[in-house]
């Protein structure tokens, strides 16, 4: 058998195969994909209705609560998807399928991580677009092309950050029950302790401090600003207790967190995948 000689081609071939497998699984079991779209839409609809009669200047810079909530739900969708990205790997560990990958002469075992990242990113993009489109139909606006670019760039950083943590947990925790339990514990509290549902000015001091360090907040605020007509990266996005942050600051912080998480989990992934 002639084996091709170039590592890059090998890496591409194996990453494509691993990603394709995840998409075949999704195609044959699409319920989580649709649930990932449906849940934020229900939230948007219900929360929008809940605050429908709130005063006009109830929230700064937006016309309605639905406008405010959209960004939070887009981020929540991507965040939840990325947080769950460790589950397929955990099942592969538990059922021995991971050994099939580890005994293969992979050009780099990074392909296992990359495939999860590509899969979740594409999934989040599709789900986010669906949410954005439906919220547009509900009258909550749509970002321009520049804004759309910022939305996706922010989502990529968030997905990379959370996926790396989730994959790390998939190797550290003993089984899928523990991973699911942790996801349950982390998912909603992190959403509520961010600016997804309410601005920092609405929160008690302690929660305001927490929310202003929450990575979800760093993703939500640029996306929220991206919906405004006069969007630019130097607009103030977050009035944090420690000072104002622009969109650029938020995205830079998210970028730094992502790099930091990749640096921290690298030794563990190296250990588990060698």
């Amino acid at each position: 058998m002639e084996i091709q000689q170039y590592n890059f081609i090998f890496l591409y071939q194996e990453t494509t195969a691993l990603t394709k497998r995840l998409f075949i699984q999704l195609k044959r079991r699409p319920s989580t994909f649709f649930a990932g779209i449906l849940q934020p839409i229900i939230w948007l609809f219900l929360f929008g209705a809940l605050f429908a009669n709130a005063p006009k200047d109830f929230l700064p810079g937006v016309d309605s609560y639905g406008n405010f909530l959209g960004a939070g739900l887009i981020v929540f969708t991507a965040f939840s998807g990325a947080l769950n990205s460790g589950l397929p790997l955990m099942f592969d560990r538990e059922f021995g399928f991971l050994n099939r990958l580890l005994v293969a002469p992979l050009a780099s075992r990074l392909s296992i991580v990359l495939s999860s990242f590509f899969y979740i990113t594409i999934l989040s993009f599709v789900q986010s677009l669906a949410i954005m489109f439906i919220s547009f139909l509900l009258g909550y606006g749509f970002p321009d092309l520049y804004g759309l670019g910022v939305v996706f760039a922010t989502l990529i950083l968030l997905v990379l950050f959370v996926t790396s943590i989730s994959l790390c947990l998939a190797f550290v925790l003993p089984g899928h029950i523990e991973l699911i339990a942790l996801i349950f514990v982390v998912n909603l509290p992190l959403l509520f302790a961010s600016t997804a549902l309410a601005p920092i000015s609405f929160m008690p001091t302690w929660l305001g401090w927490f929310a202003s360090f929450n990575p979800l907040t760093f993703a939500i605020e640029p996306i929220r600003i991206a919906y405004s007509s006069n969007f630019n990266l130097d607009l103030i996005a977050l009035n944090a207790p420690y000072g104002d942050l622009t969109c650029r600051d938020c995205i830079s912080l998210l970028f730094l967190l992502t790099i930091l998480s990749l640096v921290i989990i690298r030794p563990l992934l190296n250990k588990k995948l060698t």
Partner: protein, 338 residues
């Protein structure tokens, strides 16, 4: 010429010494059998060769390449079929093979050809496009074997490939292994089925409790006994004291050797008797003289089980039963998770 050299291989888990200074040489193009009860260390040995486990001590070389130093090169050389069949039950068999081919970087033109060939060779045409989750044990094992063979490995490692299989699947696998051997592939096959190893293996190593008991060609190992295997019972369920008395009588008879008391089989006496037609008569007379009756006496050609029995005092089947009660499979499964 030895293709695989294993030297002083040791591996400990938390409280278990799984491998103790294992030394094995495997000739190129041979079928090498590893025989031993569950928990003897077979899977640990195979997983170490397959680069899935790092040993605590010792070296393994395949084609003079060190498994621990250059695992990727080794992975190109080997095909590994694990004891637990791990398939993605959502993929079809064909999709799984396609996926596997990409992991082994088989180019597109060869990929389809290889997949088709293996589908025909392993008689999988009728169900290959069904999801793996619908397969029977035999089908799963065949697709798993096909996945291990896709890249035409130089060394095929099979961990108990026929456990729990129907006769048809077992025969297909045996035939395939014989064909692969004829084509010059080196095969390492672990099993706790005596007949499988006896029939297929050119060389066999018998391991127990992480140690090698004996190794060589199956016929050589059996011929070491130089006589027939006799199993004697003076009562259906004897006891230690009685069997010791009988043993003392047997020890005095010329032509009887290697006497072992098998406690788990009603304290039967297992020994080797020279192929002398008068010996059994002599035995009966001696026992009658000491007022022992013969409850049962069977005479057979020595088997690999006798090699095991001689070294451990237990038959392979008894060792299986003993280990089944002793093993914590859940704990072992957790230990084997990466």
């Amino acid at each position: 010429m030895n293709q695989i050299q294993i030297q002083n291989l040791s591996k400990d888990y938390l409280d278990v010494k799984a491998l103790k200074k294992i030394n094995i040489n495997i000739a190129k193009g041979s079928l090498f059998g590893i025989l031993g009860p569950n928990g003897a260390g077979k899977t640990t040995l195979l997983r170490t060769i397959a680069t899935l486990i790092s040993p605590d001590e010792g070296t393994i070389k395949i084609n003079n390449i060190d498994v621990m130093k250059e695992p990727r090169k080794i992975r190109e050389l080997i095909g590994y079929v694990a004891q637990e069949i791990a398939l993605d039950k959502i993929l079809t068999g064909r999709e799984l093979l396609d996926f596997q081919a990409d992991l082994y970087h088989i180019d597109q033109s060869n990929k389809l050809e290889r997949i088709e060939l293996l589908i025909n060779q392993l008689d999988m045409q009728n169900w290959i496009d069904r999801k793996c989750g619908t397969y029977s044990g035999g089908m799963k094992r065949r697709i798993d074997l096909a996945a291990g063979l896709l890249h035409l490995p130089k060394v095929l490692i099979l961990d108990e490939p026929t456990v729990g299989l129907d006769i048809e699947s077992r025969n297909i696998i045996w035939e395939l292994l014989n064909d692969l051997k004829k084509d010059g592939m080196t095969i390492i096959l672990s099993s706790h089925y005596l007949d499988e190893i006896d029939k297929l293996a050119d060389t066999v190593v018998i391991i127990n409790d992480g140690k090698i008991i004996d190794q060589g060609k199956p016929t050589e190992l059996k011929n070491k006994f130089g006589g027939d295997r006799i199993i004697l019972k003076v009562r259906e369920f004897s006891d230690s004291l009685e069997s010791e008395k009988v043993k003392k009588i047997l020890e005095k008879i010329d032509g009887i050797s290697q006497i072992v008391i098998n406690a788990s089989q009603g304290y039967s006496l297992n020994f080797i008797a020279d192929r002398d037609k008068d010996l059994i008569t002599k035995l009966k007379v001696e026992l009658a003289f000491s007022k022992f009756k013969i409850f049962s006496l069977s005479q057979s050609q020595p088997s690999l089980d006798d090699v095991y029995l001689q070294a451990t005092g237990k038959t392979l089947q008894d060792a299986e039963l003993y280990m089944t009660g002793k093993r914590d499979l859940k704990k072992e499964s957790k230990q084997s998770m990466r």
